[in-house]
């Protein structure tokens, strides 16, 4: 099974869409494979964020964040049967490995939360090949504007408080069953709105797709062979 298939099976399991036999298989793999468990944890976290379960308290630090995420995850009925406790274990005397796992989780949880809250992503390079410049009206050819390159924009409007936490567009394929419905609605709404969106900001939804925070495959159906053939 390649990575994509594995991910899609995991996603289907998460959505409760997998038949009993493959579900049992994936569950067994889940129990054995830490990477798969980490993916599962991310799905669960994203589900929690989608449902706007409080992840942050105004004065909370990272440990607090991780703890809250853990609690909110364990409170999820659909997670309870398979959520592997070691992943969420707190550091404990004598259990350095578990401690490490916990710390790693805290870090990755914080990272995912940052991603969700602030759209934090690596800065893109500009490796475009030089184009033959046009004779008519060459306008600007220079380096990226300094402020663009250094990425010093202030905080975006999100993330100042729990109220502002994005609870959508972060879903891998489909999030937990109850959260997914709302997300799908919002995706529909945002798509419908984007044709009326303010200028410039039309790129927002594109940016969301590029960052992976809005799943491009959301609300899609497979095209028929004929349809695809006609396009080529």
């Amino acid at each position: 099974m390649n990575e994509t298939e594995r991910d899609s099976q995991l996603s289907a399991l998460f959505d409760g869409e997998l038949a009993a036999d493959p579900a049992a298989l994936v569950t067994r793999r889940l129990l054995k494979d830490p990477a798969l468990r980490a993916t599962w944890g991310r799905y669960a976290l994203i589900g929690a964020v989608l449902r706007q379960e409080p992840l942050l308290q105004p004065a909370g630090g990272r440990a607090d964040l991780a703890d809250r995420v853990r609690q909110s995850l364990l409170a999820e009925p659909e997670l309870a049967p398979v959520a592997p406790p070691p992943v969420f274990a707190q550091p404990r005397a004598g259990g350095w490995r578990r401690g490490l796992t916990g710390a790693a989780l805290a870090a990755s949880v914080a990272a995912v939360a940052l991603l969700v809250l602030r759209w934090q992503m690596p800065v893109a390079e500009v490796p475009l090949a030089a184009q033959p410049s046009s004779p008519s009206g060459a306008v600007v050819v220079a380096n990226v504007a300094p402020q663009a390159a250094s990425g010093v924009l202030p905080e975006p409007v999100v993330s100042s408080s729990v109220e502002d936490v994005a609870h959508s567009y972060t879903t891998p394929r489909q999030a937990a069953p109850s959260g997914a419905r709302l997300a799908a609605h919002l995706v529909d709404y945002v798509v419908a709105h984007s044709d009326y969106a303010s200028p410039g900001v039309r790129l927002s939804s594109l940016s969301a797709q590029m960052s992976g925070s809005m799943d491009p495959a959301e609300n899609t159906v497979e095209m028929t062979k004929d349809e695809v053939g006609a396009r080529r």
Binding site: R51, M121, V126, G137, Y169, A197, S198, V201, E222, E227
Partner: protein, 346 residues
């Protein structure tokens, strides 16, 4: 022969001077009028071909894209190529958007209700804008060594965002734009790192060259809306300057959703209303999941409120409080439709 100075020659000359002065004053006023520059920019965006490298910043996120945009015989074709190494591409031909995700081996095809490029103009800047926004003169500026005009459109209150546009003097193209909040923080910024305006753009440049063999081709289901039920909706208390401007293009589907549009002239907020008969799912300890409230996608804020069995969601590039106020102010009106905001009858 000697030229004789007639009195009327002198007065004609004086008149010319006076006329010239008026003309000059008018010209220089126009040169500084932000509305004139915004009109020129809108015109350039709607008619010119361009090919440039755009740096798009949204909060901490930054994307670099090459954007190739062609208007030919009234048809829009646009191709965006990501420079992040993922190979992602977006090709727009009028109403159709095709997105290529080679990293996931999928192609997503979708239809949009309007034919628009990714870089939009700023229609709606007119005399009315001054009541909600503070428009300064078009200030001379330099962008990457080229003369430009900086247009600042500052919000007069906290219910809307402001815009800064750097418009190239020669080409009227927006070489840089910003969307900013009332406290001055920048929400979104577009900067052209390079830009050319070719008279002709080859068809080949507008087509994805990706080998899509083995890719999954997906069609995004367009929002399948049809105009909502008989219930008409009225807003009780809209944010200052906002009024109902119409309904969105949401026909052709079978899901009854009302799509209402509200605008202050510059920014548009969409409101989607559909009946939500299913109660929110419960968590294990019996409390309803919080399935509504605020959300944020990039520069767009959303707020969902539940009312009398309806789900009301407002979405727009405005501060969170604005979508919240709009979503919470809507009330169903029995029977007769009223387009304008109406106070509830007692």
């Amino acid at each position: 022969m000697h030229a004789v100075k007639h009195p009327w020659t002198r007065s004609l000359r004086a008149a010319c001077w006076a006329g010239g002065a008026v003309l000059w004053a008018a010209c220089s006023a126009a040169a500084d009028d932000p509305r004139v520059w915004v009109d020129r920019m809108n015109q350039a965006l709607a008619t010119r071909n361009y090919d440039g490298v755009l740096v798009h910043q949204l909060g901490d996120r930054q994307d670099t894209l090459r954007i190739i945009h062609r208007i030919q015989d009234g048809h829009l074709t646009e191709r965006l190529l990501s420079a992040d190494g993922s190979g992602r591409e977006f090709v727009r031909s009028d109403n159709e958007l095709v997105s290529y995700f080679p990293d996931r081996r999928i192609v997503v095809v979708e239809r949009r209700s309007r034919s628009l490029g990714f870089i939009g103009g700023l229609p709606g800047v007119d005399a009315n804008s001054y009541s909600q926004y503070d428009l300064g003169d078009a200030e001379p500026a330099l962008v990457q060594g080229r003369p430009a005009r900086l247009i600042s459109i500052r919000p007069r209150d906290g219910y809307r965002y402001g815009y800064r546009l750097w418009i190239d003097e020669k080409t009227s193209m927006p070489v840089q734009t910003q969307l900013f909040a009332g406290d001055g923080s920048i929400i979104e910024q577009n900067t052209f790192a390079s830009l050319t305006l070719p008279a002709h753009i080859d068809e080949q440049l507008l087509r994805s060259q990706l080998p899509t063999d083995g890719y999954r081709w997906l069609r995004r289901q367009p929002p399948q809306f049809k105009p909502g039920e008989k219930v008409s909706w009225a807003a009780q208390a809209l944010p200052p300057g906002f009024r109902r401007t119409g309904v969105g293009g949401t026909d052709g589907g079978n899901k009854p959703v009302s799509h209402l549009l509200f605008s202050d002239g510059l920014v548009t907020v969409s409101v989607f209303i559909e009946s939500a008969d299913t109660p929110p799912a419960l968590t294990r300890n019996g409390t309803p999941r919080k399935a509504d409230g605020p959300a944020q996608l990039g520069a767009a804020a959303a707020f969902t409120a539940h009312l009398d069995g309806y789900r009301v969601t407002a979405v727009g590039e405005v501060p969170p409080q604005t979508v919240r106020l709009i979503a919470e102010s809507l009330r169903p009106q029995p029977e007769t439709a009223t387009a304008s905001p109406v106070a509830p009858a007692h």
